[in-house]
């Protein structure tokens, strides 16, 4: 469990980082918090010739919360976002999801962007970003581009990033008024990746009906799985008990989830229905609050 040899680069400017990446091409790996990468190096599941440490690039260490929304740089730790009361207020679902990511020690080092770039299908943050309609800001020596979260995740551990690209920032747009949200998951141990997780968002309208509902699951497919058919069932309803039972049943009937060492496809099928129903009932709990204050 010792990493194979590699060359180590520590740029302090983003341009320097991009230049290095451009030169090294697919021979390089970016080191952010190291919480996923270092174990993979030590198990020799990866043995890149070069490691590009972006932890000293001060430009990447910033996040900002403005009228447009939230911008999180690649150097920002998960724990910083979790501990910001303003962000918790503006994006409660993000905060809730973060408290389910690993343990405090790991969140102290792990970055938001690292988790997204890593694209683990059972991770919490990718689903949340899809639900929030986030944009990935990607830069390389060749040029910059932006990709919607929904299109960013390609497969388990595979994102849209090219080898010479850095995910420099994620943009989370401001949520419409009266948005409510919930993150619900089932794990074996506290801090584990999700057996099944779901990020849910929606807005209660004046008639007490939920609109623009988004339901995105972790752990059930190779990428964050948006359950559009379930969204269609609930949009425009009051999320009555009967609606919740129907959604649960329909999720159970329609899914064909991944099977892995942690649990069977059958388990995930049943429990995704449960998790979605429970998440929705938490939106119900927030109906009064949403209509009152916002």
């Amino acid at each position: 469990m010792k990493s194979a040899p590699f060359k180590y680069y520590v740029p302090s400017e983003i341009d320097e980082a991009l230049e290095l990446l451009y030169q090294l091409g697919d021979e390089a790996k970016i080191l952010a918090g190291g919480q996923s990468l270092v174990p993979m190096l030590n198990y020799r599941l990866l043995s890149p010739a070069n490691l590009l440490d972006i932890n000293r690039v001060s430009e990447l260490k910033r996040y900002s919360l403005t009228d447009e929304g939230l911008k999180i740089g690649a150097g920002v730790r998960q724990r910083e976002i979790e501990l910001s009361p303003e962000i918790e207020l503006a994006f409660p679902v993000l905060h809730q999801a973060l408290t389910n990511v690993a343990h405090v020690q790991i969140r102290n080092r792990g970055t938001i962007c690292g988790s997204l770039a890593h694209a683990d299908s059972a991770a919490e943050l990718p689903s949340v970003m899809v639900a929030l309609g986030a944009q990935m800001v990607i830069r390389s020596g060749v040029g910059d581009r932006a990709v919607k979260a929904e299109e960013f995740f390609k497969f388990h551990l595979t994102s849209d990033l090219e080898p010479a690209e850095i995910l420099t920032e994620v943009h989370v747009p401001k949520l419409p008024a009266k948005t409510v949200g919930a993150f619900e998951e089932v794990t074996r141990r506290k801090g584990d990746f999700a057996l099944v997780g779901a990020a849910l968002l929606g807005q209660w309208d004046a008639n007490g009906q939920i609109q623009n509902c988004r339901i995105v699951c972790s752990g059930v497919a190779p990428v964050p799985l948006r359950l559009r058919f379930a969204e269609d069932i609930v949009n425009g309803t009051d999320l009555s008990d009967q609606v919740l039972v129907n959604v649960q049943q329909s999720v159970m009937d329609s899914l064909d989830p991944t099977e892995d060492i942690h649990t069977s496809s059958h388990y995930r099928k049943i429990v995704t229905g449960v998790v979605v129903r429970r998440g929705l009932s938490r939106l119900v709990d927030q109906r009064g609050a949403a209509n009152g204050s916002r």
């Binding site: 010792k2 194979a4 074996r188 060492i261 429990v271 998790v275």
Partner: protein, 783 residues
């Protein structure tokens, strides 16, 4: 802990029984512990081991040329280079009927499990050594693998060992009474099949061996974080053809947990010191977590087919259990399954017993003891059946147990089977009703049933599980201690057994201080070095308190009589007029007439060069005692667990965990409590989380803690504890072992609680650990 004085009435106990803070703690808490990887081995080369990636394969060829060219690589050894030591590593516990398969230190031709050592690379450091592993080219001819007892027993299926006729390692039947007849006549007979899986030891520190050879003294010094230093020394002496005095085996002062896997003997322990003697250069090998997952022994699975017969009142008439045990690729010892066989009857009067073991070879890393060592499985089977009987008769589970317990006046109680130590399974002492009633009172079952009913009406599912056990501890053949008056007037206790966190430096200072009567601050305890005490066995099977404890006691008593005799000679008085306390011996009626221990050391140890001493003056104040138990001593206990099960996700929440424990007299309650708490964590892991999963072709599926669900502090509730004290009449301290009791009953109690919670669904809990998946299946399969 007043019980100690029942045993030693004439003794004023000042230290024994006190919850003294461990002397080990300051250095461990401040990061000053000295584990094998902390020792300043600056001139040592480091080794890495190439391990079989296949569960079953013939090694066709090995090419090390490229690897040897890597800068920093010193040497590479394979079996072909190690012919003189390619000798059998025999099992710790065997049986005349064992279908024996030779286990060699490294693969010679056939690799029989993933992780079996094939080559050792020695390099300037571990990084380079691991780089070199990637450059060794091996051609394998893969062979069909056997990855479960079920597959092992399949007619016409592949064989674990090429050329063997059967995958059965041993088939043993033990009987008491006439079980066949009793099964025919019992008014009620119920049956079930249980599959119980346990995981590995997962000590925070893996295995490690380092060695140095001194060509001048011809002394081989081996540092090995083993649980059994003298055992390893003897194995090495035998294999190398050396005497025991030519090998000094040191178990480092601090060892980061043992739990059983470090009490076994491995090929790496043979190969590394031998390489050192060949290379004439010191080498160390420290196992990493990946190696620990695939190559340290573990416990894995047993499948039990059990039948119990009982009468209308719930009295047990007969127990019949036939079980398959996964022995792994080689038999490193039969202790686990033979302990399972004799643990089944537990605290109950059962007139007729049939206990049958079918142990199978598989192409998986060998199994051996892990805290509890076959007992959690047996207890789970028995206690699950006690609950089923209660259910069958519509009785409270506590009541069915109450009716069957061995009573305090029935000791010594002969069960009618043999224990793992070869002696008859005869319980020495205990008070099982006190354990049961202690738990029943604390749980308040009547109230619990009300809460349970109310919760059910709200769609919540609570369950209560009880589980009782009797545990053979303190087994032979012997353990030793040497007690010495040092030249500076202090008492040095040297133990043969070495600890892995059990606090020997504290406990045996308590014992020696009380036996001698000296101030405990004058007593120091050392351990783990074969050069300072010639013989010993080691730390395993909850045996040390009940073997080394009495040895320390006896050696200390002898030393005390020496001290008094010297003082009597110096003070010109009779021994009977003397007393010993603090740092001196004095005449009781004239306390100002005294000699310091230091004075005694000057006279009797240091002496005056060339001068004679009085005839009756004891000299060289040092005593060694070896305590030889006549048989095991039997600890006992109970676990009671209240759970809430989420029937939609299969998640189990433990609302309450209670442990009642009886290990006879308690030397240091704080340490015993620590042992129980740690054991309980292992029990929770076994009940709900831990599983070393293998694919059908024998590939390990969980080789990191991402995939292997070791519980953390968050998952393990803090149990409430209570104690019952039934001193053993079989040793002078009245003590029994306490290292495993926290683990043994917990899986059974949790399983019982979960089935109790899910009774409205008619769920059957027959397979452990209780992953959310299994719990959900138990609900849906009986919907």
């Amino acid at each position: 802990m007043s019980q100690i004085s029942e045993i030693k009435e004439n003794l004023t106990v000042t230290n024994i029984g006190r919850g003294m803070i461990r002397r080990e703690d300051p250095r461990l808490l401040t990061g000053q512990g000295k584990f094998i990887d902390d020792l300043p081995f600056s001139d040592f080369y480091e080794a890495a081991i190439l391990r079989s990636p296949h569960a079953h394969a013939r090694v066709v060829s090995i090419d090390t040329e490229r690897a040897l060219k890597l800068s920093g690589v010193i040497a590479i050894y394979t079996a072909a280079d190690l012919e003189p030591i390619m000798k059998d590593l025999p099992p710790k516990v065997s049986h005349p009927k064992l279908n024996y398969q030779i286990r060699l230190p490294m693969v010679k031709e056939y690799a029989n499990y993933v992780g079996e050592p094939i080559a050792v690379v020695v390099a300037e450091n571990r990084y380079i050594a691991e780089d070199a592993l990637d450059l060794i080219e091996i051609e394998y001819e893969t062979l069909p693998a056997v990855a479960s007892t079920h597959a092992a027993l399949r007619k016409g299926g592949p064989k674990v060992h090429i050329g063997s006729e059967s995958n059965v390692a041993v088939h043993i039947i033990q009987k008491a009474g006439d079980p066949e007849a009793a099964l025919k006549t019992a008014p009620h007979v119920i049956r079930e099949t249980f599959k119980i899986t346990r995981g590995g030891g997962h000590s925070i520190e893996g295995r490690g061996v380092a060695a140095r050879f001194d060509p001048i003294t011809q002394q081989l010094t081996v540092w090995d974080n083993t649980q059994a230093p003298h055992y390893v020394r003897q194995m090495l002496a035998t294999i190398y053809g050396m005497t025991e005095d030519e090998i000094r085996l040191i178990a480092p002062q601090d060892i980061g947990g043992g739990f059983g896997p470090k009490a076994q003997f491995y090929g790496e322990e043979v190969v590394i010191p031998w390489i050192v003697m060949q290379m004439k250069h010191p080498v160390k090998w420290v196992e990493d977590r990946w190696e620990n997952f695939i190559s340290a022994t573990m416990e894995r699975s047993q499948t039990h087919r059990v039948e119990v017969g009982f009468d209308e009142d719930g009295h047990l008439l007969v127990l019949k259990d036939v079980f398959e045990h996964d022995q792994g690729a080689y038999c490193v010892g039969l202790q686990v399954p033979t302990i399972t066989m004799s643990t089944l009857p537990g605290p109950y009067v059962i007139p007729n017993i049939h206990s049958e073991l079918i142990s199978c070879y598989t192409n998986i890393v060998p199994t051996s003891s892990l805290r509890g060592a076959g007992r959690p499985q047996a207890v789970t089977v028995m206690e699950r059946m006690m609950d089923r009987i209660a259910e069958h008769l519509g009785m409270e589970p506590a009541e069915i147990r109450r009716r069957n317990l061995i009573q305090p006046d029935q000791f010594p109680y002969a069960v009618g089977l043999l224990f793992r130590d070869g002696s008859p399974l005869t319980y020495d002492s205990g008070n099982y009703p006190a354990l049961l009633e202690g738990a029943v009172d604390r749980i308040d079952i009547v109230k619990f049933r009300r809460d349970q009913a109310e919760a059910r009406s709200q769609g919540r599912f609570l369950g209560l599980g009880l589980s009782m056990y009797v545990e053979g501890t303190g087994i032979g053949p012997y353990e030793g201690a040497r007690v010495r008056l040092t030249n500076s007037g202090k008492i040095l206790v040297t133990l043969a057994a070495s600890p892995q966190g059990q606090g020997y430096e504290t406990v045996y200072a308590q014992v020696a201080a009380d036996a001698i009567g000296v101030d405990i601050d004058l007593v120091e305890v050392r351990h783990g070095d074969t050069s300072s005490i010639p013989y010993g066995q080691g730390t395993f099977a909850s045996r040390v308190t009940a073997t080394a404890g009495p040895a320390v006691w006896e050696a200390s008593e002898l030393l005390k009589s020496d001290l008094l005799a010297v003082a009597a000679s110096l003070l010109k008085c009779d021994v009977s007029s003397l007393a010993l306390s603090g740092n001196s011996v004095f005449i009781e009626s004239e306390p100002e007439r005294r000699v310091l221990l230091y004075d005694i050391a000057l006279v009797s140890n240091v002496g005056r060069h060339g001068m004679s001493v009085p005839r009756d003056l004891p000299i060289a104040i040092e005593r060694t005692a070896y305590f030889k138990p006549v048989q095991a001593v039997y600890s006992s206990g109970i676990s009671a667990v209240i759970v809430e099960v989420d029937p939609e996700t299969g998640k189990i929440e433990i609302l309450k965990s209670l442990l009642g424990h009886d290990c006879g007299n308690v030397l240091n309650p704080m340490i015993v409590e620590g042992q129980i708490l740690g054991g309980h964590a292992h029990g929770i892991g076994n009940a709900i989380y831990e599983e070393a999963r293998y694919s059908e072709d024998g590939q390990p599926q969980a080789v990191s803690y991402l995939d292997y669900a070791l519980p953390t502090a968050i998952e393990v509730p803090t149990p409430e504890l209570f104690h019952v004290f039934s001193p053993s009449p079989l040793n002078p301290l009245g003590v029994k072992g306490a290292g495993e009791g926290g683990t043994i009953p917990v899986p059974g109690a949790v399983a019982n609680a979960v089935e109790d919670a899910l009774r409205p669904f008619g769920s059957r809990i027959c397979e452990l650990p209780l992953t959310p998946e299994r719990v959900l299946r138990a609900i849906y399969d009986h919907d």
